[in-house]
Amino acid sequence: MSDKTRMARQFIQALPHAVALGMEVEDIERGTAVVSMAYDERFIGDPVTKVIHGGAVSALMDTTCGAAVMSHPTNPAGTATMDLRIEYLRAARPGQRIRTTATCYHVTRSVAFVRATATDDDADNPVATATGTFTVEGKR
């Protein structure tokens, strides 16, 4: 792992809200990031089914997408979310870890384009997908 990647990982894992949700950066390299989050009863959105709230999935998606932008080889100094769309394909299984993989597939001087997928233990059957555009700051 390069120094830059290590720094990006430390930066992401230290974000106060990422800490609050217990996010763990599993992989971050060259525009692709994998971040996961354990199931937690405090994150439940539907008290009847015990399924985690979409907002918690959004936070994970947003963090992972931002991490993917930060790790892109074009070397953005910073990024902020401009727009994020999430599609909830199915309910995540209560008790299972959610893992998001985001890919920053295009970067211009000012904008980064990202796609992400979230899965639970059934990795072939995504829980949610996301597309986002992010700002690119301080790029040389």
Binding site: P16, H17, A20, H53, G55, D62, D83, L84, R85, I86
Partner: protein, 170 residues
């Protein structure tokens, strides 16, 4: 009988509506986790997100985490939509006011998709949100939400989402 047409005492009306809203909101753990509250004026709801340090994304700015903003908007959309669906039964007496837990309340709407437009960074202070139900059919609803901090006219984020309306319990 003219007797029954007398308007209900205001405290009875308020107690009923506030009680149902409280049950709706308190039963959702993630609302409590983020510390979101809802204020009511008649049937109009305003989501309130009191600031705390765990909501920060980028500590250098500092700014609210984009995921917090998204969750706050989605929560406001869901609660406002659900509140709209419950309203009629609550007012007509069809809703069982003695059993106001989520096992008895109508099921919450399910999010199909949610698109957040981040207009400016969320400052480290309280945020407010209001949702407008643009369409609520038998099966689907389309909801728009706006969030602001210091100035109502200066939104820091807005969102549009589609939801599946829960089937009414028989």
């Amino acid at each position: 009988m003219s007797f029954s047409k007398r308007p209900e005492p205001v405290q009875v009306v308020k107690q009923r509506r506030d009680g149902v809203l409280r049950a709706l909101v308190e039963g959702v753990p993630y609302i409590q986790f983020l510390g979101i509250r809802f204020e009511r004026r008649g049937d109009e709801l305003t989501g309130l997100l009191p600031f705390n340090d765990t909501l920060i994304g980028n500590p250098l700015l500092p700014a609210l985490h984009g995921g917090v903003t998204a969750a706050f908007l989605e929560m406001t959309a869901i609660v406002t939509l659900s509140w709209g669906l419950i309203w009629e039964d609550m007012e007509s007496g069809a809703l069982d006011l003695d059993n106001l837990d989520h096992a008895h309340l109508p099921r919450l709407p399910k999010t199909i998709d949610f698109t957040v437009d981040y207009l400016r960074s969320g400052l480290p202070r309280d945020a407010y949100a209001r949702a407008r139900i643009n369409r609520s059919g038998r099966r689907y609803a389309s909801v728009h939400v706006e969030a602001w901090q210091d100035n109502r006219a200066r939104l820091f984020a807005q969102a549009t989402g589609h939801f599946v309306i829960p089937r009414r319990q028989g």
